[in-house]
Symmetry: C2
Subunit: 287 residues, 2 copies
C-alpha cells in the first residue's frame, strides 16, 4: 500500500509515524513545499520516499495536512492526479469552505473530509509524536459524498490508529469547533499578550507564574501561519464566540465593580460543572 502524506509537520508526521508502526508493509511518500522539512522527515524515518505531485498516481491513501488556506488550493490538484481506488483525507480545522470548493470536483467521491481533534502547540516534522491520535475524535463531514469502499478503507486506517469517529455536517462542525477550539486559542493568545505588555520585566513573569498561567497560555505558542487562515475561514463563527466571551468577561467585571461577590461565586460555581464534562476526555495531548 502506498501512503502519501502532503505536509510532513506535526499532524502529518505523527499520522504516518503511527501508521508505519501499525502497517509495516506500507510505503510512505512525503510531499512538502519545504524541502528542509522533507529531508528532516526522511531522516527521522517518518517517510520512506521524498515525492512530488508527479508520483501521486501511485497513491492508495493520501493524508493532506497543510494550513487550511493551502488545502483549498491544493486538494483539487491532488484529487486530479489520484487513481479511482485512492482515498484522499484532510486534517483541516475548518470544513465548510473546503467542502464547498470540492462540491463539483469530478473526483469528489475520492475525498473524505476529516478533522482529527489532535495536535499540540508545536509544529514541524521534529514535533511528530507516537500515539497522537489514539483515543481522539475524528470528525468526518459529508460522509455520504465519499465512495463507500473508500470510506471503509479510510475508517480501517483510523481504527488502526485508535480514533473514534463522529459524523457532522460542515456547517455544524465549523460552528462547534469555533467554541471548543478556535476561541480557546484566541483567549490564550490575548492572555499572553495582556501579560507580556504589562510585565516588561520577563523575569517577573518567569518567577511568579505557576502552571495555572502556563496551561492557560499554552496555546499562545501555536503557529500563526496555521491559525491565521483558520480564523479567516471561520471568521463569522469566531466573531460570534468572541463577542459572547467578551460579554461574559464584561459581566464578570461588572459584578466586581458592584461588589456582588455572591454573583461572582455563582458564576464560578456554575462553571465548575466543566469538571464532569471534561472527565471523559482522553488524557493525552491534542488540540
Amino acid at each position: 500500500m502506498n501512503v502519501f502524506v502532503v505536509g510532513v509537520g506535526l499532524i502529518g508526521g505523527s499520522f504516518v509515524k503511527d501508521l508505519k508502526a501499525k502497517m509495516p508493509k506500507a510505503t510512505v511518500y512525503g510531499i512538502d513545499a519545504n524541502a528542509k522539512h522533507l529531508e528532516e522527515a526522511l531522516s527521522l524515518g517518518l517517510i520512506d520516499v521524498i515525492a512530488t505531485y508527479d508520483e501521486l498516481p501511485l497513491a492508495d491513501f493520501v493524508m493532506v495536512s497543510i494550513p487550511v488556506d493551502v488545502i483549498v488550493q491544493e486538494l483539487p490538484k491532488i484529487l486530479d492526479r489520484v487513481h479511482e481506488g485512492c482515498v484522499v483525507c484532510d486534517a483541516g480545522s475548518t470544513k465548510e469552505l473546503l467542502c464547498k470548493v470540492l462540491e463539483s470536483h469530478p473526483k469528489r467521491r475520492n475525498f473524505l473530509a476529516c478533522h482529527p481533534i489532535a495536535g499540540t502547540e508545536f509544529s514541524g516534522p521534529s514535533s511528530a509524536i507516537n500515539g497522537l491520535y489514539d483515543g481522539k475524535t475524528n470528525i468526518i463531514c459529508e460522509v455520504e459524498k465519499t465512495a463507500f469502499t473508500l470510506q471503509e478503507k479510510a475508517l480501517e486506517i483510523f481504527k488502526l490508529l485508535g480514533m473514534r469517529i463522529r459524523y457532522m455536517n460542515p456547517k455544524a462542525h465549523d460552528k462547534h469547533i469555533a467554541y471548543v477550539s478556535h476561541l480557546s486559542h484566541i483567549s490564550s493568545f490575548m492572555l499572553g499578550k495582556t501579560v507580556i505588555e504589562k510585565e516588561r520585566n520577563e523575569r517577573d513573569i518567569f518567577d511568579m507564574a505557576g502552571s495555572g498561567f502556563e496551561s492557560t497560555v499554552r496555546l499562545a505558542k501555536s503557529s500563526p501561519a496555521m491559525w491565521t487562515p483558520i480564523f479567516r475561514q471561520n471568521k463569522e463563527n469566531v466573531i460570534e464566540t468572541l463577542a459572547e466571551y467578551i460579554q461574559n468577561l464584561t459581566e464578570f467585571k461588572e459584578l466586581l465593580l458592584k461588589d456582588d461577590y455572591e454573583g461572582i461565586y455563582n458564576e464560578m460555581n456554575n462553571t465548575n460543572k466543566i469538571k464532569t464534562i471534561l472527565k471523559g476526555l482522553p488524557a493525552k495531548k491534542g488540540n
Copy 2:
C-alpha cells in the same frame, strides 16, 4: 519540633506531607473548621494530632493555609496564642490587606507573609500531593518586619521543600499576581461559561474538545470558595487586568471584522515569545 497546619486542604496538606518526609522527628498538629477534613488528614497520615487553638502555644512553626477572607480574621488570633520563638506563615494569594491588618499586631515579628506559587485545580486533604513545592517560587513580603531568627527558621523549612525565594512588597505582589494568576482564572472560568452556555449538548463538548480546550479551561475547575475572596481583596488590580484583557480581545475581534489578517498574524507572532518566557518554568503542577 511542633508544626501546626491551620487548614488541611491541598496547600496545607501538601506542605506537611513533604515536611514530614524531610523532618521525620516533627510532630504535625492539624487545625481545621471542617472536622471531616481533619479526620481525613489524620487517616491519610498528613497530620499526627488533631488540635485546636488551645494547643497553639506548643507550636514552633505554623502554616496558615485557609481562604484569604478567613486568613485576615484568624491570623491575629493565631499570633495572639503562639510563643515568642514561633514563626507563623501564610500561603494566601493576596498580601496587601493581610499585611495591613497585622501592621500593628504586638506579635508582628512572629509573622512571615508568604505566597508559595503552587497548587492545582483540586482541593481538600485527599488532593494533597508530594513535591508540590519543589522548584516553586515562594514570594515573601515585608521580610524586614519578621524577627531575623524566625526568618531563618522558616527559610530553612522552605529550602528543605525545594522552594526558591523572591522578596517583594505586598502592593507589587498583588499587582503582578493579578496578571499571572488571577486573570488566568477568570479567563478560564469565562471560557468554560461561554462554551457551556452554547453547547447545551454536553456530549458535543466532550467529543469535540481536545486537550487545547482542556488546558485553557483547567482552572475553571477551581474552588469558588477560595477564589471569590481573592478577587474581592484584589479587586482593583483584577479589574485593571480584566479591562486590558477585554480590550485586547476586542481589538482582535476588530481585526477580524476588518479582514486584517496581517494584523492577526502579527498579534499571534508577537505573543509567540511567551514560549521563551515559559521555558524557564518548572514543569510540575502549580497555580
